[in-house]
Symmetry: D2
Subunit: 320 residues, 4 copies
């Protein structure tokens, strides 16, 4: 049928932690390919990744790191456990909060605030200063906090993302109530395993590596796999493997692309060293900043060395 | 007055994350010095540490690491920010959960479960298998989940620690519903800064170290401060400093005591290297396992080297 | 002609530091392929290697390291400067000295001793004890020392290798006059550049590496190229490059064969790092001791890692 | 007696490898304190150091490194074996050679050249080009080569230092016959063990370190003792210990003075690591170039860290 591609396009969907109005939706809005496609709102990271694994969605947008709270444990642990996933893009969303209430409410009316615990922590200073005697009811998400105002009367106001007013009939009692102006959340777009996208020169490579538990200095050895090839890391997060205290896996973002010789060689070193390596993908950095590296770690240097080794083994005369 | 010491003893209090029945209370119950003293139940780690800083309590028991969830972010961040605190003891509590309900309830009656999000995650498998269509209401703590059953009818059952039945009139619908039998939480007892307790031979030293941001390989250099002196680490957790993505501090537990020469020398190296080091304390390990180390990192070797250096500088003839 | 191969074999020659009776000749006697061939006696290492380069000899036997004196500078420097040479074998000769004189001479007659300076140093204790007031005339070689007794009357006795009496009509005044019973000299057989011989499992790889002079810690970085791949070194000698104080090249013997994955990968690392690498050869060790290495540096581990990397790049699903 | 000091001064003597006219004498001429004192000409390094040990001389001038030939083995080995010596100064002498002969001789008359083997090697190119068919007779020193022209007729000319014509009635047949214009020899002035001289800011520290033989990577660990404290090395020479192949000691020159905190701390690390460390001295560099180092290795940083550690141990409140 001549309209098949169109239909196919129409059924392509993207999963994200909903409902509408979340920071995750704001991240998904940055993806050109997702425009005009179906956006599936799900309840948690597990559901989002399940959609990808099951083929219900072509990709899922999930939060992976918060500049205040650190790595998102649920995401990091899910990526460590679910096979055949690949990060294909990175997106940054500025974390800003507003205090919202049903129309007609004033700040003076607010006795109890509904807020997701993480958002609540990040607005701690403002709430203490402006609502010193408020109570707190926890919500499962920032949007659920706002939605709860219509469900029951337990809270008088909610902490929510600015976009909430596009979806709910709420008044903004205060803007920018977050404690940290630089707060940002990093999201990744995750698809099924696929061929590596081409290099852009401003790429990032993510992996999860378990440390061997048979020797001290294992982390040092892991880090040397990168440093000895001139590869810098922008993220190194420890996560417990979960079977016993003291056993860790590490979530790593390395500067560069798997098709960069120095990155590929680092990955070989890591793979030889670790009992378990999960390659999560090479993809363009959100900030589009070109990777800087010392010239002696250039691709040409690696290629020339391999040519030299081949010549030596085959007994070629020394180059003059 | 002759009874002053008694009075003083009577007013000594210990803070812990309450209410009664929490795992934190179970940890505090392991502290001999705390027996017969006042136990102050507080709402979060910040309040517990505030009690210590303000002198309301001689010490606070706080959770610092969970074998499933990893480091307790709130604790690690609080210890990084509040000065003049010292860890004086370490305690382990096995993490077990029960499903409780008001008397007369049966498992078949349970439609909605109230549970702290972390506990809920850790009982995921059992709940999915036994209550496949249940709903979840989040609570601010494990005990609050149970207590909520008496406050409203939103939930029919709660996930709680086993000790809950000592404090509430609740029936246990199911025991051991946690997914991981080895789950354990590590707690620390925190006091104001004080002189270091003597060595036991089975000690641990905790610190929080910011990485200098002016160079690559900084973490490698940090780890070498320990490895080059034969000091093993049992914990290394990254935490964002919070002012920008990519800036980290590390929470470190090193084997040994600050009065061990190799540990002291490592700390000197760390201090010279890092823009900010927070020494959290040297204290006996919960598991009382003696620290093993290679003989060439023994105190005697360090002392002999210093004697040698002194002799060399003063121009003593070489030892025969 | 049917006898061509025979003729060719007849004209094959091996160069060695002569004349007959030297330790070098004793080393050459250990080479099965050299039996029945022409042995060219030359005056120094340079002449021996020139013979190989010019095609006058198929190989040259030269001393490379002495357990007492260290690396043979002339050999190491010649190998660093003359291209297209390859070490194809290693041989050990026990260093023993005798004191010889023309027939009729007694120990009491000996006033002046002719000896190569190195041999003289190695017999220092015996000579001081038994000929306390002797004088010393230096010779250009151990055999020249003995031969000089027939040329002039300047010396009454000579320090020489035991084999000297097979070639000269001399009496042995004293045997085993060397100070060190374990003294041994290591020789290498050098041919033109050729394809690498197959692995024996007890191989050694020799190279000469210049350090880059643009940074501190360069030697550390060089050594890490081996240690990070589990390759041990049995020799590391510094030699001045010769153009300025403080500029060095290093002569390295690494355990293993260039066809061992861990050795090949080390060589790639070295080549990427160094402004000049001279590969001298992979060849069987004289002591035939099999190379021991940690299993995680086995060939299979390297090959598996490359297969994994290839799969990751091509987008294969993760192995289950 | 009032003239005692003068007498004492008059009897102070300095030993050097003679006779008059050697490069070593030229080095001694650079020592202000040696002017007007007795200069004892000796035959070798061992004799020179014996003079110091026995108190016959207050110091000995000995060659320690040659930019062409590398470390002077005899010196390095003597310093490793004779206890209670201390290097107190460093001197550089440009290595230049002249071809000398008895008056009346012309270049065309020269058939045989007497030369110390090292000097001979360093004039190889000139001799081959200008005296292509010459023979060579080895001498025990550069001056002995010249002196031999008067002893016998075996040689027609000699390779010698330029200063030789101040002491012998010889004609210079050719000047500057050395192959390398930058050739320089480094000498050290050695006294008995004494208190360390004060820092000048342009100092060097020399030591000899044996590697422990119980583990691989030992040299790497040795180098890290310096690099981890920001101390650069200007010399690293391997020397066989002499009891078996593969056992080494290393001769090290480190930038800085033992009273520099970073150097002292490096020495402590080396001493803890090595079975045998010989401290040879901290003394001003010949080139008077101030030592450059990264500010974080400044003395203040070390001192501040020790103060911090002391405060931590004594339980002082954290600095605000």
């Amino acid at each position: 049928m001549s309209d098949a591609p169109q239909n196919e396009a129409a059924t392509e969907s993207y999963s994200y932690l909903g409902p509408r109005g979340t920071f995750t939706e704001a991240a998904l809005a940055q993806v050109p390919d997702a425009r005009g496609k179906i956006w599936r709102s799900v309840n948690n990271v597990g559901e989002a990744l399940d959609d990808v694994v099951a083929g219900r969605s072509v990709a899922a947008m999930i939060a992976i790191e918060n500049s205040i709270e650190g790595g998102v444990n649920a995401t990091q642990d899910a990526l460590a456990k679910i096979p055949n996933l690949r990060i294909v893009g990175e997106y940054l969303v500025k974390v800003q909060f507003v205090l919202v209430a049903k129309p007609g409410t004033t700040l003076a009316d607010v006795k109890v605030v509904n807020a997701h615990p993480v958002a609540y922590t990040q607005c701690h200073h403002w709430l203490d200063a402006n609502l010193p005697s408020h109570g707190h009811i926890p919500a499962t998400s920032n949007v659920a906090a706002a939605a709860s105002l219509f469900d029951n009367d337990l809270a008088d106001a909610a902490v929510a993302p600015p976009g909430i007013v596009d979806h709910y009939d709420l008044d903004v009692l205060a803007e920018n109530i977050g404690d940290n102006d630089n707060a940002v959340t990093r999201f990744v777009l995750v698809s099924k395993t696929t061929a590596i996208p081409p290099r852009t020169g401003a790429d990032k490579t993510s992996l999860i590596v378990e440390l061997p538990d048979d020797r001290a200095g294992a982390l040092l050895e892991l880090l040397e796999q990168f440093s000895t090839r001139g590869v810098n890391m922008s993220l190194l997060e420890s996560r417990p493997i979960g079977d016993a205290l003291g056993r860790y896996r590490f979530v790593i973002d390395a500067d560069g692309h798997i098709l960069d010789e120095r990155v590929a060689d680092s990955l070989l070193g890591v793979r030889r060293f670790s009992p378990k390596v999960i390659f999560l993908g090479s993809y363009p950095r959100a900030d589009k900043a070109p990777i800087e590296y010392i010239p002696r770690y250039d691709d040409d240097v690696f290629i020339e060395a391999r040519d030299w080794l081949r010549g030596v083994i085959s007994g070629e005369p020394d180059a003059s």
